[in-house]
């Protein structure tokens, strides 16, 4: 069992958990992820690592309560545990100490973005961030980013908070206003990463993305997470999850993520059944 030490709601359906997992905490770096199973009959799902504390042997995960397994996870309380928690998986993000970086976090994508920007900031890079979501309730970690980001921009689709509009509109406005960035790190829904990459490509602005395809084991064994990057098939779990945003075949990725849509709808309904 991996004990749950802390748990809190970041908004209506995004939660944060601190879990004791010394083997993960020992070597994990920004950009890496874990796979967990909530109980003995559970499925394996990947989640990115938001924070870690090597001394305490703890790892923080942030997840949106969206499907069967995250719902089960959400039912767990502090003091209880989850049966399996394995990692760190994937390659750590290669962070270069450049002059200035802007991060873009879409929805719960702000969680894996956080440790990357934090580390960059510690390396002396000047960091800005755009946090985007459908509405105010879905914006997370704003206060935490503001501790080290020079500028925190917020956009919402419905204008309930920050600027009304998409993260891409914000980025475009900033660059057109003369802001100079050496690199963009965009993490969020695939469609967001696609349009950020389309926007930055003509500017020749290096853009890193973090992908979250369907996977089973997370160690390279199943190959379910294959993505086409620069015309070559890569396994997101061992070659990624970070890739050059300008090289990723996003349409294929979106299609592959929808492979079990009908089954997911089915198991979500089961999850909703009052127990």
């Amino acid at each position: 069992m991996y004990p749950i030490l802390e748990k809190k709601n970041l908004n209506n359906n995004v939660e944060e958990m601190v879990i004791r997992a010394p083997y993960v905490a020992r070597h994990c770096e920004p950009g890496q992820f874990i796979i967990l199973r909530v109980d003995d009959e559970g499925e394996r799902i990947p989640l990115t690592i938001a924070e870690y504390d090597r001394k305490q042997g703890t790892v923080t995960i942030i997840y949106q309560v969206a499907g069967y397994t995250t719902r089960k996870l959400s039912e767990k309380k502090v003091g209880e545990g989850i049966v399996d928690f394995v990692g760190p998986l994937g390659q750590p993000t290669v962070l270069h100490p450049v002059k200035r970086v802007i991060g873009i976090g879409g929805g719960v994508g702000a969680a894996p973005l956080y440790p990357q920007l934090k580390k960059l900031s510690e390396m002396g890079t000047s960091v800005d961030v755009i946090l985007g979501a459908r509405n105010k309730d879905l914006i997370i970690l704003e206060e935490k980013f503001s501790r080290f980001c020079k500028n925190v921009y917020v956009t919402t689709d419905d204008g309930s908070y920050g600027a009304k509009g998409l993260v891409t509109e914000k980025l475009k406005a900033l660059v057109e206003a003369g802001e100079k960035y050496d690199e963009v790190i965009a993490i969020g829904p695939v469609i967001m990463m696609k349009f950020v990459s389309l926007l930055t490509k003509p500017w020749n602005l290096k853009t890193n993305v973090s992908l979250n395809p369907i996977m089973v084991d997370g160690t390279g064994m199943c190959g379910g997470c294959r993505v086409t990057v620069g015309g070559q098939t890569k396994f997101a779990c061992v070659d990624g999850p970070d890739f050059d945003g300008h090289q990723v075949d996003y349409d294929e990725l979106m299609r592959r993520q929808s492979m079990y849509k009908t089954e997911e709808a089915h198991s979500c309904k089961i999850g909703l059944r009052p127990s």
């Binding site: 083997y23 394995v86 990692g87 160690t219 379910g224 294959r226 086409t228 997911e264």
Partner: protein, 461 residues
């Protein structure tokens, strides 16, 4: 005496394709005793030499013939910690049985079936006899809880070592749990046999990936005196043809892991889903391909094809598996090679193949398949399973300085001791040989255990 083996009762093909229960049902005590009397008890014991873990075959068979199944089980377990597994999945026909003197005239003794009978009997009727072990307190780490690692761990624990198995997945067993399907190897038996093997005091750390969660050099720093690496062949290979990333294309690893380990056949009772179309093509001709094809059939596919580029004679799968697959209605499309997977709206709709013919033998001694020009044809399928093997997992190699590997990624060892180029590190199983058999991995684990013992005794004495 009968020139033929006593036949083993099986579920009828038309029944078994509707369930995941075991195909072969096993001998009754009478059948086992009858078969055991076919053993000539010859002095030369060629069968024992053919067994990678050197099971005392004539001795245990003699006890079966006498009806002393308890003693037969003791003899069997003394050399093989997973007999119920081996009795089911070992290729006896190329190991022990092929050397059986009776095989010169008629069929060899059914060693595999007898092993299975004795193991099953022991599981049902006997409580495990745990030997008194004098602990020596010396720590040994095992990376990977598959057949190689389990055997190595069991052997070392018996000699008194303080053994810890580090397993990346949430269950021990490796390929026995995620790869080989329930209908060929019931998971209940695997779990039970693993528990027996580890009852000797082996510690288990699940969800730990050597090379990621902890590195080999750190294990030494934590006072482990030797490390055995048995982490398998790992990464699935794909054909590198157009359409391979379409929805509906699986590696055999993923297809079988979903079905076996994650119990996707029981969806939605199990939350892990699997997609199987009306028509399924499995690419490859080995045991894994047969397992995938027969699993697809049981998951409801109406037509299941095996697409293999050579002819029937070259199929690497065991004859028994091919026979079972045929009985279950699997359609063999031999001398065919896929060149493209066809799709519409992102989903698989068919496969384009070329016909092949056999040319001169290649380095492997098998006749090389050559494309027949202009023979392209296509047929409709909704699911494709790629079962053409894999390459070793690079995690340990990448994070262990001083560990020498082959070009293809396999760890290089001294075959007599399974010792690697790095002091104190041993390796065995698929990570050394590439995809091979359960029993070869077990043999390697056993050999490594002996070599580790010898090396550590020298050091500590």
């Amino acid at each position: 005496m009968s020139p033929k083996k006593v036949p083993i009762p099986e579920q009828k093909p038309e029944e078994r394709i509707k369930n995941f229960r075991e195909v072969a049902l096993g001998y009754t005590p009478e059948q086992a005793m009858e078969e055991a009397t076919r053993c000539l008890q010859c002095k030369t014991r060629p069968c024992v030499a053919g067994c990678p873990v050197n099971v005392k075959i004539p001795e245990f068979i003699n006890k079966v013939a006498e009806g002393d199944f308890d003693e037969a089980a003791r003899i069997l377990v003394s050399e093989n910690c997973l007999p119920a597994v081996c009795g089911r999945v070992c290729p006896q026909e190329t190991q022990c049985e092929i050397l059986c003197v009776r095989g010169k005239k008629g069929e060899p003794v059914a060693i595999g079936r007898l092993e299975r009978f004795v193991a099953d009997y022991a599981m049902e009727h006997m409580s495990q006899e745990i030997p008194k072990i004098k602990k020596n307190g010396i720590k040994v780490a095992i990376a990977g809880g598959g057949p190689a690692g389990l055997t190595c761990a069991g052997e070392l624990a018996r000699m008194g070592y303080d053994v810890t198995i580090f397993e990346a997945l949430h269950a021990l067993g490796g390929v026995l749990m995620y790869g080989i399907p329930e209908f060929r190897l019931p998971k209940r038996l695997v779990a039970r046999e693993i528990a027996n093997a580890l009852n000797l005091g082996v510690k288990i750390e699940k969800n730990v990936i050597i090379g990621k969660s902890i590195k080999v050099d750190e294990l030494f720093a934590e006072d482990f005196r030797a490390v055995f690496i048995g982490c398998g062949a790992g990464l699935p290979s794909f054909m590198k043809i157009e359409g391979e990333n379409l929805n509906g294309v699986y590696s055999a690893n993923e297809f079988l892991t979903r079905a076996n380990l994650m119990k996707a056949y029981d969806f939605p009772n199990s939350p892990t889903p699997i997609k199987v179309g009306k028509r399924v093509a499995v690419i490859g001709g080995g045991n894994v391909a047969m397992d995938a094809a027969r699993t697809a059939k049981r998951l409801g596919a109406e037509e299941v094809y095996i697409v293999y580029r050579r002819s029937e004679a070259e199929l690497p799968a065991r004859a028994e598996e091919v026979h079972h697959a045929k009985e279950e209605g699997i359609i063999f499309r031999l001398l065919r090679n896929p060149v493209k997977i066809l799709g519409k709206d992102g989903w698989v709709t068919g496969m384009e193949c070329v016909e092949m013919e056999l040319g001169e033998p290649d380095e492997s001694g098998r006749r090389r398949p050559v494309v027949k020009k202009g023979s392209n044809f296509s047929f409709p399928v909704e699911t494709v399973v790629v079962a053409i093997g894999g390459t070793p997992n690079p995690l340990i190699r990448q994070t262990t300085p001083g560990l020498e590997t082959q070009k293809w990624g396999g760890i290089i060892v001294d075959e007599a001791t399974m010792k690697t180029s790095k002091e104190g590190v041993y390796a065995g199983g698929d990570i050394v040989t590439g995809a091979a058999t359960v029993i070869l991995a077990m043999g390697a684990g056993k050999k490594a255990a002996r070599a580790i013992h010898e090396a550590l005794q020298k050091k500590t004495s």
